[in-house]
Symmetry: C2
Subunit: 199 residues, 2 copies
């Protein structure tokens, strides 16, 4: 038992350390397997310190999910110019690349959000609509996708399809290359918009 003597960090450093560790541990565990005990031990601190910084397990989980979601947003920078469908393809490629590179972490993020409470889902929804708005609200509006209520529902549903397709493809490519996958995703958006009831 090598009990490290207490090390005193600045609040910013400590917060960052705990959030990074939380995201890292989340990659190989579900959210409720991410206990305060486990994290405190991994970080070499007492349980009490986590409560000093985050107040509750719930709040800590929210902070970890937000941290992971921010990472996703940051690492998939939006294209700023070019043809609408090309921008969409660029955006989707960045997304697929990110999911491929952070497979376990991304799956944990999605599951944590889907199975979590209102707050966790809201955080994930924010990230998702942020990804969507990059591709549609600013770029494709009025070009590929008219901004109608029905189309908003359809675009949201389409992004659920895209997420499922990417995660399924990673587990088993079904004979498709990454280009096939992205090509399908890009083409499917106008395809489903075309069959949307008039809005």
């Amino acid at each position: 038992m090598t009990t490290t003597p207490r090390t005193r960090l600045s609040p910013e450093q400590r917060r960052e350390q705990l959030l990074d560790l939380g995201v890292r541990l989340l990659a190989h565990r579900s959210l409720d397997e991410l206990s305060i005990d486990l994290l405190a031990e991994e970080a070499g601190i007492s349980r009490g310190l986590l409560y000093h910084y985050f107040g509750s397990k719930q709040a800590f989980h929210e902070a970890v999910v937000r941290h992971a979601a921010d990472d996703l947003i940051a690492q998939t920078t939006p294209p700023t110019d070019g043809e609408p469908l090309v921008r969409l393809m660029t955006s989707l490629t960045a997304y697929v690349d990110y999911v491929v590179a952070n497979h376990e972490g991304y799956v944990s993020l999605v599951r944590a959000a889907a199975g979590g409470n209102e707050s966790l889902r809201a955080i994930y929804e924010d990230a998702r609509s942020s990804l969507n708005s990059r591709a549609f609200r600013e770029d494709l509006r009025g070009e590929v996708v008219a901004d109608t209520p029905a189309n908003r529902l359809v675009v949201r549903a389409w992004s659920a399809m895209a997420e499922d397709a990417v995660l399924t493809w990673i587990d088993d490519p079904h004979g498709m290359t990454q280009e096939d996958l992205i090509g399908f995703l890009v083409a499917s958006l106008p395809a489903v918009i075309a069959v949307t009831p008039e809005g």
Copy 2:
């Protein structure tokens, strides 16, 4: 404190009672808010009895989710004849009707499965592929959807889109009628299949 005297039921009756209660409570709670304590109190029994019947909290959760999934399958009987796309529409209508009628319960089911462990997800996947196979594997194969690996991935992704669309629509119809929604879902399947890379 009115402590009811112990009532002795047959194992079948007791099991049924506990599962029904579990599904009913799940409608207004997440799965990990469904504690053994809570359920035992609601059922008017001791915690020990739940362990006698289900062995563990995990096993009880699985039984509840399976019970709810079976209910979904049972209440959405498959069409047996007619044109392929008509059968698809009938099947989707039954699905949408079910989700509308059991909104809270269905949402809890989906969230429990998505946020749960391997076993819970497997149960939900079974139910989902059972719904899918009704509409595609037996009916549409070779007619609307050729049975290729890529198409399997696409059909799976399409069903994720359908689920998201229905749940979003229930919260906010976005100006769409139920016929609009179902029409969109029916039309979107051939639409996305049409842009699937050759398999």
